[in-house]
Symmetry: C2
Subunit: 385 residues, 2 copies
Amino acid sequence: MSDPSTENPDVRLQQLREAIDETDSALLNLLQQRKQLAAEVGVVKRSLGQPLYVPEREAKLLAARREEAAVVGLSPDLIEDVLRRVIRESYQQQQAADVHLQCKTIVVVGGKGALGGLFVERFREAGATVHCLDKDDWEQAEDYCQQADLVLVSVPIAATEAIINRLPKLPENCILADVTSVKEKPLQAMLDCHVGPVVGLHPMFGPQVATLAKQLIVITEGRQPDAYQWLIDTLSRWGAQLYTTTAAQHDEAMGFIQVMRHLSTFVYGAHLAEEHADLQQLLDLSSPIYRLELMMVGRLFAQNADLYADIILAHPENFAMLRRYLATFDEYLATLEQGDKSKFVDKFAEVSLYFGDFSQKFLEDSQRLLASAGDAHQLSQIAGR
Amino acid sequence: MSDPSTENPDVRLQQLREAIDETDSALLNLLQQRKQLAAEVGVVKRSLGQPLYVPEREAKLLAARREEAAVVGLSPDLIEDVLRRVIRESYQQQQAADVHLQCKTIVVVGGKGALGGLFVERFREAGATVHCLDKDDWEQAEDYCQQADLVLVSVPIAATEAIINRLPKLPENCILADVTSVKEKPLQAMLDCHVGPVVGLHPMFGPQVATLAKQLIVITEGRQPDAYQWLIDTLSRWGAQLYTTTAAQHDEAMGFIQVMRHLSTFVYGAHLAEEHADLQQLLDLSSPIYRLELMMVGRLFAQNADLYADIILAHPENFAMLRRYLATFDEYLATLEQGDKSKFVDKFAEVSLYFGDFSQKFLEDSQRLLASAGDAHQLSQIAGR
């Protein structure tokens, strides 16, 4: 600090900025070094046949750095957030554990579709003989299926049952599985048309994912779990998180998670369009949370209308639930129109009790997320200049 | 690689993990070093009276590191995400630029409330003489206000106009301002009761923010902008982003951004409660996007019912718009109940056109955000064990 330049704050500011730039470059080099180490971990794990994602190792690593950060007075959340981001990158670049399916013959019905194609690619990488069966080559169905160890159905929801019913007779040990986002009816159709092992899968992600690591796949048991265990093990080695439930519970939950959410998001967007709301102005005037919500609405309309219509139409029993939602909306809007605040406030308290500890947890988790949404918005603004 | 230990993959894996841990510790030390440099930048900026947040410097810094990353084969998004997270931490720890309000006397009506208190604290730090005026000490109003350079009204929406009308006569050069989340009526009330400078503010953030850096404040002009410029400059030096619009445009946008969003979120939560939906199961079965949406619903109920009721009730003219939303919902639900997919698909295409480039941009931005939401979920799961 005896350097005379430090007495001129403008010069000092420039020096500090250069020092920050140098630190950032050093940081960049460390990240590059870490990336190479992680890639090598991937190679070694492949040779050992170990799973890519080991939650315990990750938790231990983060806990150790958090503790270290606290000691030197750095925010433990900061180092954890940074490392999580770095680790995510590693997963995307590491190869999954070696999966050997050389002895398997797999038929993916709808394998030319986006989600079907993702599984075709993975199975082929693992050495399996994979046949894609689509509308235009259905005459091959019998040929392909007679040697199959697995027939995976990945077709639009509305067509799933009909296509399952059209399948030729499968070998007794062949697994019949589907990846439809409803489960009860396709599972029943599979059980009805095949005597061997049956399992229903619902991958809770889109075909754009870079890897299956950490992605959720819901499993609904059909028949002979021991016989389809190799398929489950394969998904697990690819890094997927598996959650097993019944088809009925799955479909009930999807009534909320998919049907209601998609429909209300659709109507929200349609309403904004009909009201000619000025989107740029809404963005300019939004806090991060509203910007996030608008983003969640708008993103729907960059996607496939048929897919969403099919999800909503697949379970007509949800319509009564949606009618009850509309009735609830009408009820509270009516009380507010009458200037009656008390019913709203009373119900609010009741719903708070229903959410219990979740609401506080959601508030905290979303604060963290919104902070990073704020960062991202800044980026778009700058990029848009 | 000629080290014999590398021939044993288990040993090699252990070595690699140790090397990763060392790299992470080195990274932690760099972050600590960067934090100290940034803190010193804050001190120098204070002495220079420079604003905390300089978007151009930040953009330049990120662009330089992105380029450097691309050269060495590291993901530019990775280094940018990491640096944004680090920069956010710096803002939270840096002190704002020196603001000198020693010569100002400021009255904050409702200064004991959370948001009012935030401003009281900032003004006091800047050296101003600050008086809080609340219900229980209203007899002081005349005393406090007769010397005031600024009277800032920060009270519940429903009470805002009444309180403005009860204010004593203010000095002619005194600024009268409010921070209510509706703007037309309070602005009019302020213009009616005071002949001097008037401005309406809407801080688009909650009182829990750590700093005003990058936070949005909407400004609606009232009267004599030159005379209230020192207040605007103060907000700017604290790092806030300012967006100026008319009270009418502000309120129209808030019909969507606040009223409609709050009410539909409230009804969504009330509906889940009435349907006795199993929240843990919904979370277990959710992909990151649904988890995020459930989080956005649940977080509402950890907050203040009165605040939300007041926001909805403040603009009765929004009720007609909300009725139109319900009618649109009913219309599309009815067509789907009849199994008519075409109207949904047609409208979907129309709304896609309305969103235009925004929908694709929202999809991309949200992908990025959802990836980090996935990281965070992992954390909660691990912490919950």
